[in-house]
Amino acid sequence: MKMYKPATLQETLSLLTELPAKKLLLAGGSDINILIKQDKITDENIIYINHLPELHGIDMCCTKLVIGAATTISEISHSGVIRQYCPFLADSLHDFASPLIAGFATLAGNIANSSPTADTVPLLLVLDARLVLKSLTTTRMLPLTEFYTGYKQTRLQDDELIIAVEIPLQYACRYKPQYIKIGSRTALTIAKAALAFVKYDNKFRIAAGSLNEYPRRLYSVEEYLSLHPDDYNDNDLLNALKKDITPITDFRSDKEYRLQVCFNYLQKFLKSTNSS
């Protein structure tokens, strides 16, 4: 294992191009540092990026929020700008780990770590969030819905770095998305299931965490509901949900419970949207 601390963003991007494939970007390190301690990371090159100013800060640019990749979870949940324009995002982070971890764990770290249970991802998926990816020669935008391709697999190229997360404010953001994280306890828990939901212009955006190999949108459910916004029936809704999720049984929960709790919250969110 070799550690690098590039002085600038430009130097970081050069390093990403030059170094061989096995490399890890380290910002907050709330997951990677445990793997280092446990000797599970041995021969990778580690590039430390947390000190790069370009990766920090929260800005409003016209109709979007731009959150620097290495902005911490606490900075987001306490940010005045986020509280004003995206209060449900700030609230959803209240149960992210504990203050001892939320103070240095970063937004892009949570996304790029690609855990199926990544707490920030379901809500960002329904908010149509985009990632700004930069390499030495290119800058591109990638919708978060297209980022994951499999368990711990993403479309991030070897020479790319997530530099920011953008949330457009003109769509879902205006319609109070709902979010639930189900864990064994409130604090410092890893989700057994998570569900984010929003309805706007008779469209539905629904995403789940801990129910697939990566957090993802529930397109079959969304499609069914867009055809039956007011006359959906529970059986068809459940069948659509079963097409979208592949819950497993592990030490944290079992697949039957995960399906049921996801279905219950889906019904609850639908009822609250229809009654308001």
Binding site: N33, N50, L100, L188
Partner: protein, 157 residues
């Protein structure tokens, strides 16, 4: 190896350490400050809590390269620091200490809270301490201790 410069309990420090050495080991093994405890080593118990730039963090999850130029405060600073000293006294007065293993971490988390909020509510105290586990006291006395410290500090101010 890197040359690590940081401030520890208001004193400048310069050490030669591997870039991937954890702050917990720097404190306990290099500097022999054993007030900071090692519990789970995965960020779940809070026994290793220290202040980094006035915020409570798990020192088991911080690498040397992340501590460069930071301001670190540990429980040993209670010998000089008014707020830490007051918290320590309050923990003793309310019976918030049994085995004592979680206490340094609890006190550091409590100080981070009081730096933000001088008169915290019960809920704010519970939130601030949610990453610190105690297996002896059941937390009631710990919450009382933080309330007492806040009250004592307010009366003195």
């Amino acid at each position: 190896m890197i040359e690590l410069k940081f401030t520890l309990n208001n004193q400048p420090q310069t050490l030669q350490v591997p870039a991937n050495m954890r702050l917990l080991e720097i404190l306990r093994d290099q500097l022999h400050l054993t007030g900071t405890k090692e519990g789970c080593s995965v960020g779940e118990c809070g026994a290793c809590t220290v202040l980094m730039n006035k915020k409570a963090v798990c020192s088991c999850l911080m690498l040397a390269c992340q501590v460069q130029n930071a301001e670190i405060e540990t429980i040993e600073y209670a010998a000089e620091d008014e707020m830490l000293k007051t918290l320590q006294d309050s923990f003793l007065k309310t019976g918030a200490v049994q085995c004592g293993f979680c206490t340094p971490g609890m006190i550091m988390s409590a100080k981070a809270l009081l730096l933000q909020t001088l008169q915290p509510s019960n809920d704010q105290i519970k939130k601030a301490l949610e990453g610190n586990l105690c297996r002896c006291t059941g937390y009631v006395q710990i919450i009382e201790a933080v309330q007492l410290a806040a009250k004592t500090l307010a009366e003195r101010a």
